[in-house]
Amino acid sequence: MANLKVNGTEVEVQSDSTTPLLWVLREELGLTGTKYGCGVAQCGACTVHIDGKAVRACVFPVNAVQPGQEVTTIEGLSENGDHPVQQAWAELDVPQCGYCQPGMIMASAALLNDKPKPTDADINTGITNICRCGTLQRVRKGVHRAAELAYNAGGETS
């Protein structure tokens, strides 16, 4: 059985090795924050991080996670729900139904890992998740706000 490092904890995975990471997270590890929306890597509701990069877990077989790689889900993004993206999301009241939001937040956090001061164009290409409630405008504002919050926090400590 494969070992997986999820949110900082090593776990032994029992699921069939070709099972998509999404279903291992949800059904074996009980991490239901990561959502199923399409199963074909279109909607992004299943977005998690592998070594800080956004991955669509619904089409990512669990055996494709390499030894030593770190899987982060929405539950592990921050200890107290206070990652800059989460802070910005709370401040701007971004979610509506909330189902796509773990994916949106993980995609946004990954974008900020890559581009700490993203432009609108960076957001357009970096976040392609679907939200049917239509939170997109606030998602854009949220990403910019999160960049500010992260910059300010960095400024204080440096």
Binding site: V11, E28, C43, G98, C100, P102, I105, G134, L136
Partner: protein, 727 residues
């Protein structure tokens, strides 16, 4: 049902875990959890009246029965109760009674149905009375304790003050005594000028924390002890049947526990995990009888709709003067045909429900827009008495009208009934969701308008042809064979969904042409296409008359000042009348929908045939605006839904089967195409309008009119993606 299971279902869901922190338990009662308010000990709350419970620590629990699916109704309803209650908002939390409890208490909470943008407007009176009644009881209890007249006491922020003496107490301290008092015969509601929470742009009370940390439990996340997972396939052609399946091919696959016939049309695989169930279902050989619609195609159906556009017989929805005569005598006539295809709701969370069935009880946990209808489905499918059935509503991962139907509840109960005592969670794949929707019907419209020598509109005939939702869902509600709901936004003045304009000679009629697909209420329902038909045509008329599109409309809106006000606000906000940059153009649309007045002005740029929607200014007059920032969120979201339909989405069928199976061929608007939306909330007071749906109507026509303004090209058939805009 065992006590253990009952106890589990009532108190918590257990999330099984192999991470070492095994048996992680989430406290999750019937009540909606939210972390907005301090948690309080269960059982310590006192029910002051049906809507308000108060704990000794002054936590106020407000009961909400309309479903929260993202539209913010939970927060808005709580604001209304809390305002009349004069409660401390920071200590307000909510819970959702079950439909079974509603039945047991003689429907004390009224309708659970959540659709038609009615959450606020249809329940505002009795929920405000619920808050006001509790307030009166609490004050009376305090006054009794002090031996003073209640009229000398006031309440604010959950604190009661005896004005002459300055004595104070809190709601929590007198709640038990208040609950024992007889309720007042009538209570006076606040004058709107005294509202503190109604009208305040407070944050949603269901967002903080759970929705941004992944902790919010949706139906798809429900986990019960000993639960198995089911994946289902119904006959891909609506009206067809399940003939046979060969379970021997999959029964040895990992985790598979059962293969069951759900009903005449569907088969399900039950397994330890959903992924195992789905994998086995995909491998299951199934024979279908595709039935009488096995050859049905969209092109064939479209020809039927086209014929309806000029058919002799049609049901008249709105008529004034003599349109035929006026058109015959007009100095200039304009004619156009528009089309708005089938749409799927496609909420992000696919259909799902969880059920436990035993010989003497059936319980369901599900996201639903209509708890009582879900309960009805549970009763019917379980074969048990109503008193032994109940439904626990779970917050919805989107609804948009789809979850007003309970087909997935019937399915899960039918499966659970074959595995007595075992909790079954049924989750549809996205493909199942796309193939078995309750579709926004396909309609087309042929509109003919007549202008006189001065460019004034003298007559109009707007003929709609296509499928009726009411004929599919509630045929008993048809009147004289006609569907009056078809005319939303085109009705005579004074009705719900009135027409925006006074047109001297007008005929609006509908030739019903139904397909084999199941129709449904899709966010916005019939205002979506009717606004395209009316507002794009208004633009065509203004152009033919050589007049400004705003001024042309204004002349016809003298009797409809509220609609005109939102139209002007949107136009002014977008700089209507000022010059646009080369390649750009602006377009307008206005509509009356779900009790509100909405308008939009879109600005687009077309360069090298590529459409860029630069900016949209949208105005809404909902009468009273309970939460302006949530109205803004609904308006912003309405453009995503409405523009997705305009740009990309269309459900078609070949050999009776829907061809669009997932988001790769049923696209939805993404950030790259999301325009900047500026929302003007302009409540004029005196009425209660809805906000979840109205603005969808103006999204497409405002943009289509802007495209014409920019390019001179009329687009009359949705979706528009792939149409060459450069020519």
């Amino acid at each position: 049902m065992t006590n253990k299971l009952l106890d589990l279902s009532r108190r918590k869901f257990v999330i099984g875990s192999a991470t070492g922190s095994a048996g992680l338990s989430l406290g999750f009662g019937l009540a909606t959890r939210n972390s907005h308010a301090a948690h309080h000990a269960d059982g310590a709350k006192t029910e002051v009246d049906a809507w308000v419970l108060i704990a000794p620590d002054d936590t106020v629990t407000i009961r909400i029965v309309r479903s929260e699916m993202g539209q913010g109704t939970l927060t808005g309803l709580a604001q209304m109760v809390a305002d009349e209650l004069d409660a401390d908002w920071s200590k307000v939390t909510t819970e959702q009674p079950t439909p079974g409890q509603n039945v047991a208490r003689d429907r004390v909470w009224g309708s659970f149905s959540t659709g038609g943008s009615q959450g606020i407007r249809a329940s505002q009176q009795y929920v405000r009375e619920g808050g006001a009644t509790a307030r009166a009881l609490l004050i009376e209890a305090a006054a009794n304790e002090w031996g003073v007249p209640a009229s000398e006491c006031t309440a604010s922020e959950s604190v009661i003050t005896h004005k002459p003496s300055g004595r104070k107490t809190t709601y929590g301290k007198v709640a038990a005594k208040a609950a024992a008092l007889p309720p007042p015969m009538d209570v006076k509601l606040k004058d709107p000028k005294d509202w503190k929470l109604i009208g305040a742009p407070v944050k949603r009370i269901d967002t903080t924390h759970d929705k941004i940390t992944g902790k919010q439990i949706f139906g798809a996340d429900v986990q019960l002890d000993g639960m198995l997972n089911a994946a289902v396939k119904a006959c891909p052609v609506n009206g067809g049947k399940l003939v046979s399946y060969d379970q021997s091919k999959v029964s040895n696959m990992p985790g598979v526990r059962a293969v069951v016939k759900v009903d005449d049309t569907a088969v399900a695989v039950v397994a330890e995990t959903w992924w195992q169930a789905k994998t086995a279902l995909d491998a299951l050989p199934i024979t279908w009888d595709k039935g009488e619609h096995a050859k049905a195609s969209s092109s064939e159906y479209e020809a039927i709709i086209d014929a309806g556009l000029t058919a002799d017989e049609a049901f008249v929805g709105n008529e004034a003067g003599d349109a035929e005569k006026a058109l015959a005598g007009a100095s200039k006539t304009v004619e156009a045909v528009y089309g708005y295809p089938f749409q799927n709701h496609a909420p992000m969370e696919p259909m799902n429900a969880t059920a436990v069935w035993t010989e003497d009880k059936c319980e369901v946990w599900c996201p639903t827009q209509n708890g009582e209808a879900a309960l009805g489905a549970c009763i019917a499918a379980s074969g048990l008495d109503a008193a032994n059935c109940d439904v626990h509503k779970i917050n919805l991962g989107g609804g948009f009208g789809r979850r007003g139907n309970s087909d997935y509840v019937e399915q899960v109960v039918a499966i659970a009934k074959q595995l007595p005592g075992t909790p079954i969670k049924l989750l549809w794949s996205r493909e199942e969701d796309m193939l078995h929707g309750m579709y926004h019907p396909y309609t087309k419209a042929r509109v003919v308008g007549g202008l006189d020598d001065d460019g004034k509109l003298v007559g109009m005939h707007l003929r709609i042809s296509g499928q009726s939702i009411i004929a599919g869902l509630f045929p008993q509600a048809l009147r004289g064979g006609g569907d009056q709901l078809q005319f939303q936004g085109l009705n005579a003045p004074g009705q719900e969904h009135p027409i925006s304009y006074t047109i001297p000679n007008l005929k609006v009629d509908h030739a019903m042409r139904n397909s084999h697909l199941r129709p449904g209420f899709w966010r916005g329902v019939n205002v979506n296409q009717n606004c395209v038909y009316m507002e794009c045509f208004m633009d065509e008329l203004a152009h033919a008359a050589g007049r400004d599109a705003l001024e042309f409309r204004e002349e016809l809106m003298k009797d409809n000042q509220k609609a005109l006000a939102v139209l002007k606000a949107a136009a002014d906000g977008a700089g209507w009348g000022t010059k646009t940059k080369p390649g750009s153009g602006r377009g307008l649309a206005v509509f009356s929908a779900f009790g509100s007045f909405v308008a939009a002005c879109a600005e687009v740029t077309v360069s090298n045939g590529e459409l860029e929607i630069d900016r949209i200014v949208a105005a809404t007059d909902p009468g009273y605006a309970v939460n302006p920032q949530q109205i803004e969120a609904q308006v912003e979201g309405s453009f995503v839904y409405g523009l997705s339909a305009m740009l990309y989405s269309e459900c078609t069928f070949e050999n009776g089967e829907i061809q669009e199976t997932n988001f790769h061929n049923y696209q939805s608007l993404r950030l790259a195409k999301m325009p900047e939306v500026e929302t003007i909330v302009m409540p004029s007071g005196g009425f209660w309008g809805g906000v979840g749906e109205p603005t969808i109507s103006v999204a497409a026509p405002a943009v289509l009119n802007a495209i014409f303004n920019a390019t001179g090209k009329r687009i009359r058939q949705l979706p528009i993606d792939g149409i060459d805009l450069s020519a």
